[in-house]
């Protein structure tokens, strides 16, 4: 498999998970850069070109509330989970736990077969 193919599949694998990570991180209000830093600190490195449009899309879908605030001599747009977003986060988290458990079994089974 080429590096380009691997990159493409990694991107596909991460795409859905990133939404969950962003929603979960926005229980607290964040502006774009601070959210990126927080995700990075927790082990999810996401480039700006993906993160900022993603936040806007989630806000357009009314999953996030947003407001402009002044701070440190600059205006910033802060985002936080809306009620709809909170409800969706709960459902997606359950789905993720279920999927993660099933996938662990599959990957564990595959590893045993390989051994």
């Amino acid at each position: 498999m080429t590096a380009a193919q691997l990159d493409k599949m990694r991107l596909e694998l991460r795409r859905g998970v990133l939404v969950l990570a962003v929603l979960a991180s926005l229980k607290q209000p964040h502006y774009g850069y601070s959210l990126r830093r927080q995700l990075q600190d927790r082990g999810i490195d996401i480039d700006e070109g993906t993160l900022y449009p993603l936040i806007r899309r989630l806000a357009d879908q009314e999953l996030l509330n947003s407001e402009w605030r002044q701070g440190e001599g600059r205006e910033r747009r802060y985002y936080q989970l809306s009620d709809l977003g909170t409800e969706l986060l709960g459902q997606l988290s359950d789905e993720w736990q279920q999927l993660n458990g099933a996938l662990s079994n599959i990957l564990g089974g595959a590893a045993e077969e390989t051994d």
Binding site: Y31, G32, Y33, E75, R76
Partner: protein, 314 residues
């Protein structure tokens, strides 16, 4: 900071007008935050550092497309219908163009074969441009309307109504059908159009065949009508059935017999021998015409063999 302003302006130029201010404002805030973060770590930043950060963010057009992904001209779910409509309409326009150009050719005394082909191509191209633009515009308009439900999720279809799974050749291509239809229409126009011509027109027209060859073709013209009917049937069904294969087989057998019969029937051409004096001898042209007819007969004959094999497999 001039670089940042230029970068944000370049991104904004690529965005829809309604989103420019909001996204530009937010993008600028995010870039400034990042530059501040870097300055805290590494001290004051040079123009080269800022240029490096902007370059890392990506080309302005690519960044703009992330924020506002470009909308395809035609919605993806409409693409198969769009292609089908385009093919069907262009096929019909080709048939009409064949009829129109052939009538002009037959009734004209100074239009050669090359000019006929050129007129056919030019006329068809005109039609194609108009049809392509109109159909694309109609589908573009449809694609702009909000869709109620994705087509994949609709339930108004029944698996029982799907055609039987068969070999891949069973699907009839539109291209093949329209080629057949155009051929039969061409033949009918060439055979029957002189009936409506005056004696003067007939004298100046390019009817090169002898009377008995022309009569032979007239008797064979019901086969062209049958071919047209079969073509329309194929357009409706789009799938070879046993009945359709047998009809095609019978038609092609008859066509082969007629063409070979015509080749063997005697003198075919009625030419102004004086005009061609020194260029061709009549017997050379006759021989060329007979050879051409034998080659032409090979096409329906090949289809006969093909359909026999298909009938055994179906």
């Amino acid at each position: 900071m001039d670089l940042v302003a230029r970068y944000v302006a370049a991104v904004q130029r690529e965005l829809p007008e309604a989103k420019r201010d909001e996204i530009g404002r937010e993008l600028k805030a995010n870039i400034m935050d990042k530059l501040d973060g870097m300055a805290e770590q590494h001290g004051s930043l040079t123009e080269a550092d800022i240029a490096g950060v902007l370059k890392q963010m990506g080309r302005p057009r690519a960044v703009a497309q992330q924020f506002a992904p470009p909308q395809p001209l035609i919605r993806l779910s409409y693409m198969p219908l769009y292609q089908y409509t385009l093919f069907l309409v262009l096929g019909i326009l080709f048939l009409l163009q064949v009829v129109e150009t052939t009538i002009n050719w037959v009734s004209s005394s100074d239009m050669g074969l090359v000019q006929y082909l050129f007129r056919l191509a030019a006329g068809f191209l005109d039609d194609v441009i108009f049809a392509f633009a109109s159909i694309t515009a109609a589908f573009w308009f449809m694609s702009r309307q909000p869709s109620a439900k994705p087509e994949d999720c609709t339930t108004d279809w029944h698996p029982e109504q799907l055609p039987k799974a068969g070999p891949s050749w069973q699907h009839i291509s539109l291209q093949d059908t329209f080629t057949d239809l155009a051929t039969y229409l061409f033949l009918l126009v060439v055979i029957w159009y002189p009936m409506w011509m005056s004696a003067e027109q007939l004298d100046s027209s390019r009817l090169l065949l002898t009377d008995h060859a022309y009569l032979w073709l007239k008797w064979a013209s019901p086969l062209a009508v049958l071919g047209l009917a079969l073509g329309i049937w194929q357009l409706q069904q789009r799938l070879w059935s046993r009945a359709m294969l047998i009809s095609n087989l019978v038609l092609n057998c008859a066509l082969t017999a007629v063409i070979l019969g015509l080749a063997a029937s005697g003198r075919l051409l009625q030419l102004d021998v004086e005009r061609w004096h020194g260029v061709f001898e009549l017997y050379q042209l006759e021989r060329a015409a007979v050879t051409s007819l034998i080659i032409i007969a090979m096409f329906p004959l090949w289809e006969v063999g093909r359909d026999l094999l298909r009938l055994r497999k179906l």
